[in-house]
């Protein structure tokens, strides 16, 4: 696969990787704990989007079996192409995990603010260095 092909055919992946790195960069580079949590969210979102991308089948429609009046209670038309529903289902769980993580992280950030009087990591580290 040459470069243009890789860029055009896999553009979604490139985008996801970029998004992911943005998230990771924020987690690493920012001192503010809330911003770190946001970075973490972006990072997770990229992974979730990855699953969603994966589920896409070319020409596929939503995986809902259409009602066929000719065969009540039977299976739908066989020529319909569906997108893969499984990754979406998985992502529902992953989103729940992400929400829980964010909630916990924010709760911890509140506690840190209460204990240190700051939400900045570098200030908290300096405080620890001073007070042991």
């Amino acid at each position: 696969m040459n470069l243009p092909e890789a860029l055009s055919g896999l553009w979604a992946y490139w985008l996801l990787i970029a998004l992911m790195m943005v998230g990771l960069y924020i987690v690493i580079a920012r001192d503010n704990l809330i911003k770190k949590v946001m970075g973490l969210n972006i990072f997770q979102a990229a992974a979730i989007l990855f699953y969603v991308t994966m589920a896409k089948v070319e020409g596929g429609t939503a995986p809902i079996v259409p009602h066929d009046p000719a065969h009540p209670g039977g299976h739908g038309a066989h020529d319909v192409v569906y997108s893969n529903p499984l990754p979406h289902v998985l992502m529902l769980t992953a989103i729940v995990v992400g929400v829980a993580t964010t909630a916990l992280a924010l709760a911890l950030a509140v506690r840190i603010h209460g204990d240190y009087g700051t939400s900045e990591e570098d200030e908290a580290v300096a405080y620890d260095a001073e007070h042991g």
Partner: protein, 494 residues
């Protein structure tokens, strides 16, 4: 019969957690959670007995057959882990910490037990399930609850450590999720055995290799493999002592199982260790962990931090067993899971005893404590000797097989380095023992009021200390099971 109750292993603690939340009575919650853990332990032992010698038990959740449905599948490998986790949980739960973690008021203590149960449920779920995405869910359940548990430590830095642990853990979790996604893309299935069976033709795809990389790095963060270990020393040294004991004895062990299972069962030893030569990375990292983390432990002045760094070094021994990829070495790594759980769990319980009576485990505060708390100190010495690997303790058994496995591979230099690294353990253990027994207490910190720890604390610590000697002298059970598990893993089964 046994397959019917198998699912209870995970469901019991999972349901017990909301029960605790509803009942809100701290004493009840304590005894109730102890009972639940005891039941889990009984089930795990029954499972282990059942599958010894190559048996397999499969349970289909909701009656959906695999590969579509989620399958719980027990073989010697994960039965061993289940027994290990529940046994440690049982001993540590029976430790009477007299008032729970410092940050939790009496009327909220039931939540603490609920979180503890959730953590156990997650750890058992990871071990028991045969579905890749299910593993991710349980991984996050156990991780989220361990972040909470860590944050309950008395010191303000406990919360900061928990936050840091959360960031690292979440990154690891996302890596794991991405790896599973790529595997799904390659094979179109989430059932572990199904993935393993279908991966063969696409083993050399870039996607597969990337999946392997993501999975290994993701789990390595949770396992605290050097150099991804930075969250661990803080988390272990600021968590409530009982939590440190629990996490040190169980959480990293389950992560190790996960790593081994993914490398051997899904990707297969020939691909990982002969084609990709993962040992070329894993072995140096293990050795570095053993030397640098032990070296860092020597310079710690706080007993808990010292033990935490020693944990990083001990994880190095486990991954070293992994990188030999032969039955002896892998069995050595697996048996070290149990052995390290016993000794480090015991040592952290000793720390809890010391904290309760002395109020600090800074080495200066422990001077001469050996006379005031002889039994606690003796347990400390036994655990310490085991860390060094003195014959007659569990540490020796691990080392024996690890070195044998390494020698089988012909890595003589690595064998020498393993033995040398235990001398670093000698230095930091020796330092502690000298302070405890031979240093005179400082004038500013009189220890005359210090008494021996209460029985409810001492007994669990001594159970583990005694186990460290007992299983150092009879290895039929531990090594027997570990060997069987190692052979099963090398053959690609679970």
């Amino acid at each position: 019969m046994i397959e019917k109750i198998l699912v209870l292993e995970v469901v019991l603690p999972l349901l017990a957690a909301p029960v605790c939340v509803l009942v809100r009575h701290p004493r009840f919650c304590r005894l109730f959670s102890l009972g639940v853990v005891a039941a889990c332990f009984a089930i795990a032992v029954a499972l282990l007995v059942e599958v010894r010698g190559g048996g397999v038990i499969s349970y289909q959740l909701g009656g959906w057959p695999p590969p579509l449905g989620i399958e719980y599948r027990i073989s010697t490998v994960n039965a061993y882990l289940l027994a290990l986790v529940t046994a440690m949980a049982l001993v540590i739960f029976s430790f009477d910490s007299r008032g729970g973690p410092p940050r939790v008021p009496e009327q909220r203590r039931h939540l603490y037990y609920a979180v503890f149960l959730l953590c156990i449920s997650g750890l058992l779920g990871i071990t028991i399930t045969g579905d890749a995405f299910n593993i991710f869910v349980f991984l996050e359940i156990s991780s989220l609850s361990s972040y909470i548990l860590v944050s309950l430590g008395g010191h303000r830095r406990a919360v900061m450590s928990a936050f840091y642990y959360l960031v690292m853990g979440t990154i690891g979790g996302v890596f794991f999720m991405l790896g599973v996604g790529l595997l799904y893309q390659e094979t179109g299935t989430l059932n572990l055995r199904d993935i393993a069976a279908r991966l063969e033709p696409s083993l050399h795809d870039r996607g597969t290799v990337l999946a392997l990389a993501l999975l290994v790095v993701g789990i390595s963060i949770k396992l605290a493999v050097f150099p991804l270990h930075h969250w661990l020393p803080n988390a272990y040294s600021f968590a409530p002592p009982k939590v440190s004991a629990f996490l040190a004895a169980t959480a990293t062990k389950v992560s190790f199982y996960l790593l081994a299972m993914i490398l051997f069962t899904i990707f297969g030893a020939p691909f990982v260790f002969e084609e990709l030569r993962l040992q070329a990375v894993l072995l140096p990292l293990s050795l570095l962990a053993m030397f640098l983390a032990s070296g860092a432990a020597i310079f710690q002045t706080d007993l808990r931090r010292l033990l935490a760094y020693s944990s990083v070094a001990q994880i190095g021994y486990m991954t070293l067993g992994l990188s030999t990829a032969n039955a002896t070495g892998l069995a050595g790594g697996l048996v070290h899971l149990f052995n390290h759980a016993v000794m480090k769990g015991g040592l952290f319980l000793v720390v809890a005893c010391l904290l309760y009576r002395v109020g600090s485990v800074h080495l200066d505060a422990l001077a001469g404590i050996g006379r005031r708390m002889p039994l606690t100190s003796a347990a400390l010495v036994i655990g310490g000797l085991s860390l060094i690997g003195v014959p007659g303790t569990v540490g020796f058994v691990s080392k024996w097989y690890l070195v044998s496995g390494v020698l089988e591979r012909g890595w003589t230099a690595a064998a020498v380095l393993i033995l040398l690294s235990s001398l670093l353990a000698l230095v930091y253990v020796g330092k502690v023992v000298e302070v405890v027994y031979f240093r005179k207490p400082a004038e500013t910190q009189p220890i005359d009021h210090v008494r021996e720890a209460p029985l409810g604390m001492l007994a669990p610590a001594w159970v583990l200390a005694a186990a460290a000697v007992f299983f150092g002298l009879t290895t039929n059970w531990t090594y027997g099971v570990a060997r069987e598990a190692a052979e099963l893993l090398l053959a690609g089964g679970i």
